[in-house]
């Protein structure tokens, strides 16, 4: 408790409060803007970590993360264009509500639901992070090696529709992670001293997320403007509150555990929450026409899963979403190793972060409820200027790593790779996870074998490792049964699934 209060003290200093505000505003803006998600925004913000203290940067990043989640729901509701896969479900009922003239209520239930889910999620983090840290601190390198392997397998097999492409992304990422001399010998450096330290994650992340996306959008620019539903101040009536509070809580219950699982993400819980609300509602006739429960539940699930993501990130150093992967690389760039020792070595920082999550969440509600009409105006920014701006900040970010034109060349190279990946439907997340975790995994393997004196059986000498390997085995069996190339069509294709599939 004292630690938490100290965390609040650190998070509430004027500087850090300013960064939290900045993060929330930036996050909401990028969430609203087409083509930029929180992962890209964080990648573009990574250069800030060179000179701002770790506490301020992490606090700002937390604000961007939560803000981006909320901003995405605004466009889903007002425009029916879910920018993030996690807000696809929100658009289903949210846009219909808006079309029926209930945009204000849809935005309000999304904002308040996000706040409640985020708050509960943050409190759960306060309770769970120290306990899980105590547990995992006993784990040795073999267990870590197994966990990283699990997160590789999970990220490639659970997400996306093509396993083959998931593995392609993962191994491309691992290959990029090999570059450098960390093993004492130059690997894949093309004899160039500039590559000796490896390829900076900032360059890869910015290139894949920002440059790749900008090029991809440029190649397929939508020309017809979308119809936006005018919006006033969000508010909710008594009836709306009555119908919203249960879905908020249920959504939170779905979101947090899924967020904490490797490759859990936000898609599954938002979808499950939607289906549950549809079954439990007292107004089944409204579903499909704009039922408030269908916005409240998934939005809560969405933000709760964002909170859940922080648990494996902080305690194990395992990122489960693209955004978390970028946060991990930001921490690493401070020389901070997220993982079991983080709680011991950097407990001030962790508690400041945990406290700031609550602050970011509160700011989000305070700032966004009144500002919703203003955010909608952001959508008028012309696309040429928007994407030119993205490229501008991408180059700035890559250049400030070392002030070398060479990094800009790498940026372009990986940007083209990012373009190709989007063209061929290769997911981005496994690549980033591969780049970040690949070298760490090699390190854990080396450490495990060094301790055991080269005896390979050490890898399954810890109970946790054995459990993890069984889970991996189950996952792989499931994949093998479903066929390597694509998953079997989901067995009972219900109407809402079809709706989702067809969008």
């Amino acid at each position: 408790m004292d630690l938490l209060l100290e965390g609040f003290q650190q998070a509430l200093t004027p500087t850090n409060l300013l960064f939290a505000c900045l993060g929330v505003i930036l996050g909401t803006a990028v969430g609203v803007l087409p083509g930029i998600g929180p992962a890209m925004a964080l990648a573009l913000l990574l250069p800030v970590t060179y000179s701002v203290g770790p506490d301020s940067a992490i606090i700002m990043f937390a604000g961007v993360y939560y803000g981006g989640m909320y901003g995405g729901s605004t466009t889903s509701i007002l425009l029916n264009t879910p920018g993030e896969s996690s807000s696809v479900v929100t658009a289903l009922e949210g846009n219909k509500m808006a079309k029926r003239g209930r945009a204000a209520q849809a935005l309000a239930t999304a904002a308040i639901g996000s706040f409640i889910a985020g708050t509960i999620g943050t409190v759960l983090l306060w309770v769970l992070t120290p306990r899980v840290s105590d547990l995992v601190v006993k784990l040795g390198a073999p267990s870590y090696f197994a966990l990283m392997l699990l997160s590789f397998i999970a990220v490639t097999t659970v997400l996306g529709s093509s396993r083959l492409r998931g593995f392609i992304a993962l191994f491309l990422g691992l290959a990029i992670g090999l570059v450098g001399t960390q093993t004492g010998q130059a690997r894949l450096t093309f004899g160039d001293a500039k590559l000796a330290d490896g390829i900076d994650v900032v360059v890869v992340a910015v290139a894949i997320f920002a440059v790749g996306e900008a090029l991809w959008v440029a190649a397929h620019l939508r020309r017809k403007p979308l119809e936006i539903i005018p919006v006033g101040q969000p508010w909710m009536g008594k009836q709306d509150w009555k119908r919203s509070w249960k879905p908020w809580l249920r959504g939170t219950a779905y979101g947090f555990p899924f967020g904490a699982l490797p490759a859990g993400g936000a898609e599954m819980p938002t979808f499950l929450s939607y289906v549950t609300e549809k079954r439990l509602t007292n107004h089944p006739e409204e579903f499909g026409k704009g039922a408030i429960e269908g916005v409240a539940g998934p939005e809560a699930a969405n933000n709760a899963s964002a909170a859940g993501t922080m648990l494996p990130l902080l305690t194990l150093g395992l990122p489960t979403t693209a955004t978390a992967a970028i946060m991990l690389s930001a921490l690493t760039s401070y020389g901070i190793q997220p993982g079991p020792l983080l709680m011991e070595n950097e407990s001030d920082l962790v508690w400041a972060l945990l406290a700031s999550l609550l602050i970011a969440n509160t700011l989000l509600l305070v700032i966004n409820l009144p500002l919703a009409p203003l955010w909608a105006k952001l959508l008028r920014i012309p696309r040429p200027q928007l994407y030119a701006g993205i490229l501008f900040f991408a180059c700035l970010g890559a250049y400030t790593v070392n002030f070398q034109a060479f990094d800009l060349a790498l940026l372009l190279l990986f940007g083209v790779l990012g373009f190709a990946m989007r063209r061929f439907g290769i997911p981005v997340l496994p690549l980033i996870v591969g780049v970040i975790l690949g070298p760490k995994m090699e390190g854990q393997l080396t450490e495990a074998l060094a301790i055991s004196g080269g005896d390979v059986s050490t890898l399954w000498s810890e109970p946790v490792a054995v459990v993890v390997y069984s889970v991996i085995g189950l996952l792989l069996t499931a994949v093998a049964v479903n066929g390597l190339r694509r998953p079997a069509p989901a067995a009972p294709v219900t109407t809402e699934e079809k709706e989702l599939v067809e969008r």
Binding site: L79, R223, L226, R380, P382, P384
Partner: protein, 128 residues
């Protein structure tokens, strides 16, 4: 004989349309409503939705006017208005104008301004 009106889904376009309708009715000529956008931002509030423009057309036709609507995404809005005037052999273009500061004029290319300067027929500039 026809009147071309540059319509935008705001008070300026509304004002222009009202005047154009009055003149078209007085002279009993065909009215061409042009509502175009460059489509370079996700949302263009001046571009009317499909349902809205259909409602405008239905209203005018119910009034007994002969109405043609050009509702399109174009490379340049002013060019679209001028082209419509050319093709329809318009003898009047009606545009809505808004107040602009000198700096605003410098930075923002105005559709109304281009139409006024480049049109070959008279242009009626309407303020709401």
């Amino acid at each position: 004989m026809s009147i071309v009106v540059a319509y935008s889904a705001d008070t300026y376009g509304r004002a222009a349309l009202d005047h154009a309708v009055r003149l078209a009715r007085k002279d009993d000529v065909r009215l061409v409503v042009v509502n175009a956008t460059r489509g370079d931002s996700l949302v263009d509030p001046r571009y009317a939705g499909d349902a809205d423009i259909a409602a405008v057309q239905a209203d005018l036709e119910a009034d007994g006017l002969e109405v043609a609507v050009r509702h399109d995404v174009v490379p340049d809005v002013a060019d679209a208005v001028l082209a419509a005037a050319q093709e329809e052999a318009a003898d009047l273009i009606v545009v809505g104008i808004r107040h602009r500061s000198p700096v605003g004029k410098l930075l923002l290319g105005s559709v109304a301004q281009r139409v006024i300067l480049d049109a070959t027929c008279p242009v009626l500039a309407v303020k709401p």
